[in-house]
């Protein structure tokens, strides 16, 4: 297969983005054609998903400073699935609120493209450039409703935090380049396993790692770089919030995993404690803040911060040769995959309520079971999955991540995560309570969902149950993906 063929998913998205852009220029946009841009984007994402699925079975190889391996392919599948679902659900939502759909969906596809490259990037500069590409397009999408104060604020905050974070990250990466003399992650890895590596150099890498981490932590909304997340999530158009909290996070964790597990595998003594600390901080801060929210969108934003903390546990507990089938990295991937469907489902449920009531405050969910029983039922499933109740994908993700940590005997980390799971259940239950425990009289009128949202919700429900109840297939994927990374690692 020639090198261009290896870029098939990216090329598909690029063509898609250009096509939507040209269509937008060529035709006068009215409301009707605007909706179809969403569908066209969704279609390109589905094709890209199939291309990524095909890449799962390829031999690991490299092209254009990118790894084309099962790990990258799996992340691409996750990301594209999420973006396609957002496109499916968000078409009508965007259509009602803006005239510039062509622009929106063009950038939407470019965001997907950036995440796709990020999934495989193995070169420090490419990592930096792609994060920038992802960030800049995301800033624009976050602020897409530019006449709305909230949306403008969301984009602005995101931009201010983001630009500082990437500058800091670039500084950190330059340290690594200075020490190693190469930008390639494998050469970086090879450099640090040298037996004659001086202690000074090892120590010097700690600030470099911390600085580089700032960029990743910002993208994955890890403490202490998560403060942008609640405001941005709340103010952005809900489809943007949805992908920021799911697909974008998956891409960020993918590049983090590659950076630390492949690039800095020899320095694990240095970075594992740092990540463990961040993990505790992130989940605790996220959960505590979520407890007090009355705006469901904001609540889910904080909860998504907390989930980043749980996922990080998997990276902390990465083990190269785990006989038990829980090597940490597969937990991260599984968690990301399950979390994607769950959280997309949760945000689309929110979008559905927002469409009809115009509000995302807790009160808008009062008595939802009487207004839209199926929506309430599915939203409940997503919330239970987020809370980690079994029979859902969310449980299996936690199971693998916690499992890896127990295997490493990080009992204190797991104990803190345990307390956090209890706190988290409390605020998820608050939403469920609001939906169900009211009386029938004060519920309000019935809710009608657009077809796209119905389809998205159904897909997310089925996927969540599928991962939770019969996961062998998904486990095969995540195991292949994590093994391809871990066998190459020089722990």
């Amino acid at each position: 297969m020639n090198a261009l063929g290896l870029l098939l998913p990216e090329l598909i998205l690029l063509v898609g983005a250009l096509l939507v852009f040209l269509l937008d220029v060529a035709y006068d946009t009215d409301r009707e054609s605007g909706a179809s841009y969403g569908l066209v984007s969704g279609l390109f994402l589905v094709v890209a998903f199939l291309a990524a699925f095909f890449q799962m079975s390829l031999e690991p190889q490299q092209a254009f400073m990118m790894d084309i391996d099962a790990f990258a392919a799996f992340i691409k599948m996750t990301v594209f699935a999420g973006m396609a679902l957002v496109a499916l659900a968000g078409g009508r939502y965007m259509n009602r609120r803006t005239y510039n759909q062509g622009e929106f969906w063009t950038f939407f596809l470019i965001v997907s493209l950036a995440m796709s490259i990020l999934a495989g990037a193995n070169n420090l500069v490419l990592i930096y450039i792609t994060i920038e590409l992802l960030s800049i397009t995301s800033y624009m999408l976050a602020a897409f409703f530019r006449d709305e104060l909230r949306s403008a604020e969301a984009g602005m905050k995101y931009f201010l935090y983001g630009s500082v974070a990437s500058a800091v990250m670039l500084y950190g990466l330059s340290f690594i380049y200075g020490a190693v003399g190469s930008l390639d992650l494998r050469e970086v890895a090879g450099f640090f396993v040298q037996p004659d590596l001086t202690e000074e150099l090892r120590v010097a890498m700690i600030p470099a790692t911390l600085l580089a981490l700032a960029g990743f932590a910002f993208k994955a909304s890890l403490a202490p770089f998560y403060q942008w997340a609640p405001d941005t999530y709340e103010g952005s158009p809900t489809p943007v919030t949805t992908y920021l909290s799911t697909a974008s996070k998956a891409a960020a964790f993918a590049v983090m995993a590659r950076f630390f597990v492949v690039g800095l595998s020899a320095l694990d003594v240095e970075w594992v404690p740092i990540l463990a600390g961040l993990s505790i901080l992130t989940m605790t801060m996220g959960n505590l803040a979520a407890l007090r929210q009355n705006n469901v969108k904001r609540l889910l934003a904080y909860s998504s911060v907390a989930h980043a903390g749980y996922i990080l546990m998997g990276l902390v507990a990465v083990a190269a040769n785990a006989a038990s089938g829980m090597d940490g990295l597969n937990g991260v991937l599984l968690y990301l995959f399950a979390y994607l469907f769950t959280n997309v489902g949760a945000f689309v449920s929110l979008m559905a309520v927002e469409e009809t009531t115009g509000s995302v405050e807790m009160e808008a969910f009062q008595g939802l079971i009487h207004r839209a029983p199926w929506l309430a039922g599915m939203f409940t499933l997503f919330l239970l999955s987020l809370a980690g109740i079994p029979a859902t994908g969310g449980f299996l993700g936690k199971f693998f991540v916690f499992g890896a940590a127990v295997q490493h005997q990080y009992y204190w980390l797991v104990a803190i995560a345990l307390v956090n799971a209890g706190i988290a259940a409390f605020y998820y239950l608050r939403i469920i309570r609001t939906m169900y425990f009211g009386s029938q009289e004060d519920a309000g009128s019935r809710l009608e969902l657009p077809l796209g949202m119905q389809a998205t919700l159904l897909i997310c429900t089925l996927a969540t149950l599928w991962i939770g109840l019969y996961p062998p297939q998904v486990l095969d994927w995540v195991n292949t993906a994590s093994q391809q990374i871990l066998t190459a690692v020089l722990f």
């Binding site: 038990s324 079994p390 209890g422 409390f426 425990f437």
Partner: protein
Amino acid sequence: MESIVLVVMLFWPLLAALVVLLFGGSDRAVKTSSILMSLVPLALSVYLLWGYDFEAGGIQFQVRAEWIPQINASFRLGVDGLSIPLVFLTALLSTLSLYYSAGVIRHRVKEYFFLFHLLEMSMLGVFVALDYVLFYIFWEISLVPMYFLIGIWGSDNRDYAAVKFFIYTLVGSVAMLLAILAIFFATGTFDILDAAAAQPFSQQLTIASLVFWGLFLGFAFKVPSFPFHTWLPDAHTEAPTAGSVILAGVLLKLGAYGLLRIMLPTLPHAAVFWAPWLVALGAIAIVYGAFVCVAQSDLKRLIAYSSVSHMGYVVLGIGAAAAVMTPEALADLANVFSLSPEALQDSAAMAINGATLQMFNHGIITGALFFLVGILYERAHTRDLFRFGGLSARTPYYYGLMMVAAFASLGLPGLAGFWAEFFTFRGAFAIVPAWAAFGTLGIIITAVYFLYRIIQNVFLGEYDPAKIEHWTTVDGQPAEGPTDVVGFEKLTLWPLVAAMLLIGIYPTPLVEYFNQSALELLNFVSTLS
């Protein structure tokens, strides 16, 4: 062919739930189909009772299929002498609860019956699962429908009670999950029996203790063992009648079942080490729970606290047996008491039999008591003990039913409760005499609160019409005064009352099942090095 029984029994309630959800038309149709469909698991559980082969013993009706090969988790079901009676209890109480609910639940009927079927499936699942992952999934799912049952159909303070129930048990369960993971990493399997056979951590008491307490937290919150019981009074009091029946009748047994099925065989060394704690917690629960009962003015809360006291017997019995879980501990203790190891092992078997009998009997007796409280509440709309009085003359049938249930609960010989207490104390006296003696105090106090609080306050004395403003019939029609139990209530209670009498007079058939599994457990641990 045989193996299909458990699969059908387990997933039938799920089917029933889906039928209700998708095809449930009128409330009446939902109720009728729910009751009829719940007869299938009941019939199959009777088939299990009848079909269990005592000669062969062990786990029977096994099902084993590949499920998640990557982590060695399989879909493995099976029942033995311990689980069969509990499966029967679950199916029986579920059917009775559905039948009773059909008479009293009037709003959001479809949701109610949907959730109830889901609840039944999860409870059956815990009793038949022989794989940790499967076990844990069913264990946790049982939280969700119960949460909704309390939260939607409960009484005034339901919101608080539902959340408290959910969070408390969730925290316990997550601790259990970590213990399960630790066992998995030590043994490489999620199979409950294989893991027990592998004897993880038998040489490392510190880690074994951590795992032991992880498991114990999960089970103790469910049992609930003192001091983890604080969610129980709220949940039981606020839940709708049938919810309280299932909570007390079955959900509490899940915890005790876990202690016997998982904790004792898998971690016998840690069990021996911590047995004094279990015994103490059990004995304290018996006495403390009983004392708290005496102080209650709310009838339902009183019954709820009586569960804390009565489940204390279970923990006491299991704790006593835990003290001789290893051959060395058995020999040591036999030396101390100058008994033969065999005699001591007999006592351990009796303690286990007492605990398991108590699990079953408590399910029947307290189930009946909660039904009875519900019957009164439907009419009086209050549970305040001091606002009743003189009901014995007004509602003699109700009085009679309550007397049987109350006397069974306080352990009157000739009724079911007696045998459980007798076996428990007989077994525990030989192993932990001091705590057992302390525990017997509970029997006296139990008599006090049943006779003095309930019988005297509610049924004896003068009937004063001014104390309760608006009596209604069970259908919600205004009534002049208390009305006696009606047909569907009698039909709900009679199977339970009959079981109390039958087991009270002739407990042998039931004991045979439990004894089988108790002996198997003791044989299993006596072969350990």
